[in-house]
Amino acid sequence: MINVEAVYWFIGALFIAWASLIARDTGHRHRIGSSLFWGILGLCFFYGTWVQAGKAPAWILGVAVLVLVGLASSGQLSDGKAKSSTPAERVAYAARFGNKLFIPALLLPVVTVALVLAAPVLVIGGTPILDPKNTTLVALTIGAIVAAAAAVVILKPRNKLAPLLESRRILESIGWAALLPQMLSTLGILFTKAGVGTAVGTLTASILPKGSLLAAVAVYCVGMFLFTVLMGNGFAAFPIMTAAIGWPVLIQQFHGNPAIVFAIGMLAGFCGTLCTPMAANFNLVPAALLEMKNRYGVITAQIGTALPLLVVNIGLMYFLAF
């Protein structure tokens, strides 16, 4: 079986390979700091396997993570601006290869989706070939490898390691933002352990006026929204807001339809995900990937949709569930 840990090892190996490319780049402004950052990050992906299995002490990984944060925030990590093709060369290549360039780009989702759909029948001797709990991750990684190989075959770069060299450029433009989603998910765990959720739940329940259905619906939805903004995803908000208001007030007191209340409540939380830097993998990493000047530019574009949609959710829940 191709386990999800194999995916993490592949990613870890990529980080180490990128680190060694940076280490050999003598023109890099922060050659040592940057190669250390990506190298340690790569090792963490391997070591994490044993931490996840409970077979190695987690605190060592904790120290490594803090070292990464230290390197990134003390200015030791920077973009080496690796050389790539010039704009003029790209125009010439585009004219030469034309729509063939789309083949690898489309192969990636096609292989991924095909593997996801075929996963239930890809079984050898009773064991599934792809990790059934993480089919999408495994399929996506295989799709990425197939697509990169196809790109080398079709485009015939002089250096067969071109996918590695060129992805280093993208990685360095993302920079520290690459680590942020994982740090935020750790913060979410710490928040939950320390009881932040319960505190926010008590706070919102305390401002709830008695007897008004519309107010209760609004507080539940706005609570889901705000809570998601703070925690970065609706998954952490849902159990707490539901325990504070959703179940005792909306279902038990006002006899709402549970399926409608909970489905729309979660979607009110999703409106919050659109508005928060805490959801780094949706809002900050894309801004880095697109090399935007304004780190919060994606959020700015989304707020105008998220707020009206939150109001719509309140209305939908009020009219459909009761």
């Binding site: 585009a94 990636l108 994982q182 740090m183 697109l290 000047k293």
Partner: protein, 237 residues
Amino acid sequence: MLVLIGVLLVIIGFAVRLNPLIVVTVAGIVTALLGGMNPLQILEAFGSGFASSRSVTVFAAVLPVIGIIEYFGLQEQAKNLISKLARLTAGRVLLAYLAIRQITAAVGLTSIGGHAQAVRPLVYPMAEGAAMRRYGNVPEQLKERIKGHSAAADNVGVFFGEDVFVAVGSILLITTFVDTTYHLQLEPLELALWAIPTAIAAFLIHGFRLLRLDRKLDREYARITGESATVHAGSAA
């Protein structure tokens, strides 16, 4: 209530634009200390948090293929393709992507789009290509706005599409939590069904905004350059 100081730290840190890594780390340590954890437990929390969240960094695996096709001019080719289509504007390109992203997510194909594998190499260049046709040289401010909306179309599409599909994480989380805590028996299909009204509303609201985006870009272009937008058909060559 004291633990909420950590939340406050995050808000202030993000608001004054400190490096988010430092903000998140400090807020995490402060919250953990207030919650009564000792230094070793805090280090363990950072370690196990990292180990269990490695899946969010899977975008790294698609960078090699994106890197090589970008080197050979994928973005340029995407721009070429779009700038030949006269009726396409940045807003309409993104509207089409929003529709594709939402529909495919609704049938469970969330891995078709994404920021690293679709938005950067294809969607944004296509939207920019459409803008190039209209404005010739696209000013930096307009590019920035188009970039923001390219990523936004992906997010809105996938968030409000995937919940219509039964086997998605958020729906399973609802049923698991509610069924075990309150002894209900909710069907995932029922939850997915009731996600449809919001999905339609999301498409209408965001779609409407994307259609208006073109006029917004026109106005911004006029303000920056002092001239009004004309179709630059020459850029298609």
